[in-house]
Amino acid sequence: MTLLYTEVEEELRASVRDLLTDRCPADAVLKRVESEAPYDMDLWKTLAGDIGVAGLLVPEDYGGAGASAREVAVVLEELGRAVAPLPFFTSSVLATKALLSVGEEDLIQELASGEATAALAVSLAASPYRPLPETVTVTDGGLLNGEIRAVAGADVADVLLVPVGTALYRVEAENARIEVLPSLDLTRPIATVTFSDTPASALGGLDVRSVLNFGAGLLASEQLGVAEWCLGTTLAYIKERRQFARPVGSFQAIKHRMADLWLDVVRARAAARNAADLLSPPDGVEAAGGRELAAAVAKSWCSEVALHVAEESVQLHGGIGMTWEHPVHLYLKRAKATEIALGTPGAHREAVAALADLPAPV
């Protein structure tokens, strides 16, 4: 294991970053999020197919790249850095991880190639540490009824993967009602998914908790990317922007805050790398506890750091940071939404209490 990036990982990062720099600059994202098509599915085809990120988690036998959570994490860093409106996390991480555990070969292949997109139909606010609310039921005839709120990526999914009890069901998205809501995070809108006697096929048993845990541990890398963009953009701005005939970044109070933010981000990077590393195979003996702990540590730390850096970034941009025209608000909104996503920092610290033997008061 290493907490550094391997050469292969750095190459993957470079391809993704080049593509995003070219096709997904901040002003384009800003225009897109209020359009009819907030997701850039053309870009997604290129990224998924040509660069092959959609199949990173998928074994080569299934047409994937047979890579690990480490590479996925690098892609997430870059997507976070660009607040890219793409279904990578929802389809290629959450949905794919769920499918891999039920072994649904055909669909996995379609997802891996980028031909199809899926979404795991759970609330983005679902915690890996609490049972999912049971809002969907299955009729004897295998039809689904009920609704799931705050689902991310559903609006661009071809297929919905619906956990009901301990089983996973497949629903063609066109058969469900998917209503997108105005969302705090403009670049990853949420939707309410409704089933009424919707045909579904049972795919097998799923421990959804472990999928959410895996997702939470990797979301930390996306948060790291958000934090890095905010830190870098703010640094560039305060080196340039002058007040009182000096660069704002020459004022000591600002410098000290930047140093503290940097230190937080340095630690976020280590925590996110550690989670990505431990969430990658091989799964050793007694590795499960270590994996969960690493994910909980990374998600709780990176959530707070991304949010704090984004908030400081708005502040240090002054008035311009409060305008719609400057992209920093997209990052603030992403950071705030991912704080809530897949377990709040507090929920993950509660898990740390159990995993690190720091019992709560009785």
Binding site: E34, S123, L124, A125, R149, A150, L181, P182, S183, L184, D185, L186, I190, R242, Q243, F244, A245, R246, F251, A253, I254, L307, E311, V314, Q315, G318, G319, I320, G321, M322, T323, W324, E325, H329, L332, K333, K336, A337, E339, I340, A341, T344, P345, G346, A347, R349, E350, A360
Partner: protein, 391 residues
């Protein structure tokens, strides 16, 4: 000798006996102004009685239930323009502007901030050049609330670029109906446009619209800004009220959302809100007979930080619901709506609390230097002509 409480009450009672509050609203307000009952501490003839400021409440008590002005729409006029016009205006200016300002017949806005001059207001670059007894103004202003329905603006512009930045400014009243004034809504991160950008292109202002001496604009502006900050930090709230009250209600109504992490953070914020409230009360006691001082900057600092923490916790504890937003529509709004809008709006709008009306960084400088007497940093811009400053 200034009027005492009893004398002020007599004036109010007499006024009410002579004017029917059920009649024309505007007539009533104009008459109230003329009777010196608009702001009793202003001089006679300018809407006041030359009485102590604290006696205003006597008038308000007697005239409760009669037609009232609209303090929300008139904030800038009442809070910033009026005290400045009173302090620096000529008799003609005071006579011309104060009455319709108070009645609300003429709305005012503020043209101070510029894209290039935020905290460092004195570095502003909007030029006013003399031409045949008039001033020709060119430049761009920003963060102007109410510009689109304002009749007048208070404006600071540079009249001499060859002297150090604080010395080359002049303060004007700007005619918002003059040719060359263009107002564009400025969209904020909340989605709405509470403010405007104002573009000034060859705007001609008569010299009778100048407030104070040529080159004295910085000093005039200080009066305006001092009054602004007091207004921001100053409103009294009851224990457990305000933003912490909103959050407490959510907490009480959602037992299923409670966790110990959220609970501990809520308790800390509740205590902080309470001690901040008490400090505000204590400050108002201190100021009740005095003038606004730099201590008010501390209250604004505390208010910004609390609002941000409380609104952030609110979004987080709502969980799934916090991932939604009520309305991103780009539309004008007349002000901040912390109560009627959703938690996401409050969270985003509160981010502005530490920027508008003096950033928290500037306020900390003010506290450090003016309250604590700490030395200023080495200054590189004090004695350099404005035109030679690095930008």
């Amino acid at each position: 000798m200034a009027l005492d409480e009893e004398a002020v009450r007599e004036r109010a009672v007499a006024f009410l006996a002579a004017h029917d509050p059920a009649g024309d609203r505007l007539e009533f307000l104009r008459a109230r102004f003329d009777a010196g009952l608009a702001w009793v501490h202003f001089p006679e003839g300018l809407g006041g009685l030359g009485a102590a400021r604290e006696l205003q409440h006597v008038v308000e008590h007697e005239l409760a239930g009669t037609p009232q002005i609209n303090p929300g729409l008139q904030t800038i006029g009442l809070g910033m323009a009026a005290p400045t016009i009173l302090a620096f205006g000529t008799d003609e200016q005071r006579g011309r502007f104060l009455r319709p300002l108070w009645t609300g017949e003429e709305i005012w806005c503020q043209l101070f901030s510029e894209p290039g001059a935020g905290s460092d207001l004195a570095t502003l670059g909007t030029r006013a050049v003399r031409d045949a007894g008039e001033w020709v103004v060119d430049g761009q202003k920003v963060w102007t609330s109410g510009a689109h329905h304002s009749r007048w603006a208070i404006l600071v512009a540079r009249t001499d670029p060859d002297v150090p930045k604080h010395r080359g400014l002049t303060y004007f009243v700007c005619d918002m109906h003059a040719p060359g004034v263009e107002v564009r809504p400025l969209r904020q991160i909340t989605g709405e446009a509470e403010f405007n950008e104002v573009f000034l292109t060859g705007v001609r202002l008569g010299d009778d619209l100048r407030l104070g001496e040529i080159g004295d604009g910085w000093r005039v502006a200080q009066t305006t800004l001092m009054n602004e900050r007091v207004a921001i930090g100053g409103a009294p709230v009851k224990r457990g009220g305000g933003m912490v009250g909103l959050l407490s209600e959510v907490w009480r109504s959602r037992p299923e959302a409670r966790t110990h992490d959220l609970h501990q953070r809520l308790l800390r914020l509740w205590v902080e809100a309470e001690v901040t409230r008490l400090a505000g009360t204590r400050l108002r006691e201190q100021l009740s007979a005095g003038q606004p001082g730099p201590e008010g900057s501390g209250m604004k600092l505390a208010f910004a930080s609390l609002n941000q923490a409380l609104s952030g916790l609110d979004v987080e504890l709502r969980g799934e619901e916090g991932l939604a937003y009520d309305d991103w529509t780009f539309r004008r709004s007349e002000g901040v709506d912390f109560v009627g809008r959703g938690s996401g709006y409050r969270y985003l709008r509160a981010k502005g609390n530490s920027i508008e009306g003096g950033t928290s960084e500037i306020l900390r400088n003010i506290v450090a230097e003016r309250v604590l007497g700490l030395p200023s940093e080495p200054r590189v811009d004090k004695d350099v002509p404005w035109k030679d400053l690095p930008r």
